[in-house]
Subunit: 337 residues, 2 copies
């Protein structure tokens, strides 16, 4: 039996239970992975609360799509992995099918990457989702190029920080927004070219000023809701407003007509577009691994919890005060015979 | 003095007045054109009513952005045009600056194209706006390729019919929608691969059925409003919902979150993106001219009015029963000395 986080109903962090569950053996195309560290993502908080873009299909439900660990068993028809190989699991599946909030988990091999050398489990659990998300959105979907201005909302999230580094790496100009001045210094240290404090400054005015009136080629937004109207105003002609989250919880209008039909692309995006497309994932893996190798990229670990503190980890994410990734580590018992 | 259509206040077709106005001489970069035929576009109906994306800056206001005629005088710094050259004027300027509902009009040379040989004035006034709009949206913005499915709303409009031909020409599959069965036969004759009667059939079901569940690579929509939610459902992953009109008059939601964050591009588009970009306009002109030359494209003239019937022409457009372009012809007095 394997300690596994499950929940039997939608609710707050307290619905999360650490239960003994039979893990079984990997089927065709699957791997059994010993989980050493788990990356906590907002998708899991939303899934647990019943607010995710996918509802829970069946209770009790599992959670978790990102982890670092070691291969313990290899299913049929899987190539490129062997027992003992350090790996990372990346979000490329539905949490209705698999969940990595556990001591051990079966996952599809298509969601598993070799762990780059020199990366510990905590770092390896913190690095992929943010950088795959940012790379896929900005480079694959948005076509980001050197000299582009890129506006980032919720910029102190793990994805926001990865987006700052990704923009820097290609020679683009990351402009971060943050609600209060509290995180401004950290964002500048993380590489933001400019930080706009939305509680004190006018975003439209500031972005147009910073781009000589041109606007930003890309806006990468995790907030959505009515705020997209102002964000759309700062998109340069032919630029793209990429929506990858809906932190506002409010309905999102389409701003194209209100703004006089500009050449505005508006685009929803999830990391699954990157992780479930074999060619994109290959490019994304190469981009992130090479960035880690040169030091252009680094994991930003915000705070580390133990598996038994999973509810606390969710509470911490909901409070929204973190900078960087929340990671949960797993203490291991020997694998049962 | 030159008979010119003007209006002194927003309102219905009756606010249009045929008045004697001094036309003057073309300034630098401008041409004086004798107008032989005028293409009537919805933008003018909206501008007259105060519903266009640009308000009237000053009354009395002029109208009209598309015409065929002959060059009568050439302003400074204009090359490539000489007196007597048959030309077409295409929508590449604000109606606050220029208007071609007149016997003669000054227009910017950047909005003037040579008229293809063999094209009469009525045809030359009917052909450009629809094909430039469709080409720019589908090919330049949407990247339409052979085999793509393209859903067209308001397909019996002049732009809709041009979009059908444009899709056919590149080997794409035009799927037209129409509210009632009345225009179904005409749309099939115009080249639509399939016609969906929205009053009788479920658009989502039909498009998914016609595309083996894949969805359409492009949706080219003139209606907007709440209907975009269903249209977004039929966009294939990575495809684009292009919004080029708002006939519904209703607020338009952004459907990305409601639909579970698909890889959905949503895009406003106006023909000005094509006509005011020198490189795009050059390609568009070549595409349309060559299509007219081979017979792949042809002007579809719906009904022809005289300049003194301009209010009637607007009423006819508002009734929405036309198939193809509404053209207004001009009877000429000799040019005053």
């Amino acid at each position: 039996m394997v300690k596994t986080v499950r929940f039997h109903e939608y609710g707050g962090p307290d619905v999360l239970r650490l239960e003994d569950v039979e893990v079984g053996e990997p089927g065709p195309g699957e791997l059994l992975v010993r989980v050493d560290a788990i990356g906590v993502n907002r998708a899991e908080v939303l899934f647990r609360g019943g607010h995710y873009i996918q509802p829970v299909k069946e209770f009790p439900a599992r959670l978790g799509a990102e982890a670092a660990g070691v291969v313990e068993a290899v299913g049929a028809h899987v190539t490129g992995f062997e027992v003992g190989r350090p790996v990372s699991v990346v979000p490329a599946f539905s949490m209705n099918d698999y969940g990595v909030y556990a001591e051990r988990a079966i996952v599809p091999a298509s969601a598993v990457l070799h762990r780059p050398g020199g990366l510990g489990a905590i770092e390896a659990a913190a690095v992929w989702m943010p950088y795959l998300t940012a790379y896929g959105a900005l480079v694959e979907v948005g076509g980001m190029r050197a000299g582009d201005a890129v506006v980032l909302t919720a910029a102190s999230s793990s994805v926001g920080l990865a987006a700052i580094r990704t923009a820097r790496r290609v020679g683009a100009v990351p402009i971060a927004t943050t609600r209060t001045g509290a995180k401004k210094k950290a964002l500048l240290e993380a590489g933001a070219a400019e930080v706009i404090v939305t509680g004190e400054e006018d975003v439209v005015e500031r972005v147009l000023d910073l781009t000589s009136g041109r606007g930003a080629e890309l806006v990468f937004d995790a907030v959505a809701g009515p705020g997209v109207i102002d964000l759309a105003k700062v998109v340069a002609p032919g630029g793209t407003l990429i929506e990858y989250g809906a932190l506002s919880g409010e309905a999102t209008p389409y701003p194209g007509f209100e703004l006089g039909m500009p050449a505005l692309n508006m685009r929803t995006y999830t990391v699954h577009e990157t992780t479930t497309d074999r060619r994109r994932l290959r490019r994304a893996e190469a981009f992130v691994s090479s960035g880690l190798g040169t030091g252009a990229f680094e994991p930003v670990v915000g705070r580390v919890f133990g598996l038994e503190e999973i509810a606390e980890a969710h509470r911490y994410m909901e409070a929204g005060d973190q900078i960087g990734k929340i990671v949960v580590t797993v203490d291991h018992h020997p694998r049962p015979m």
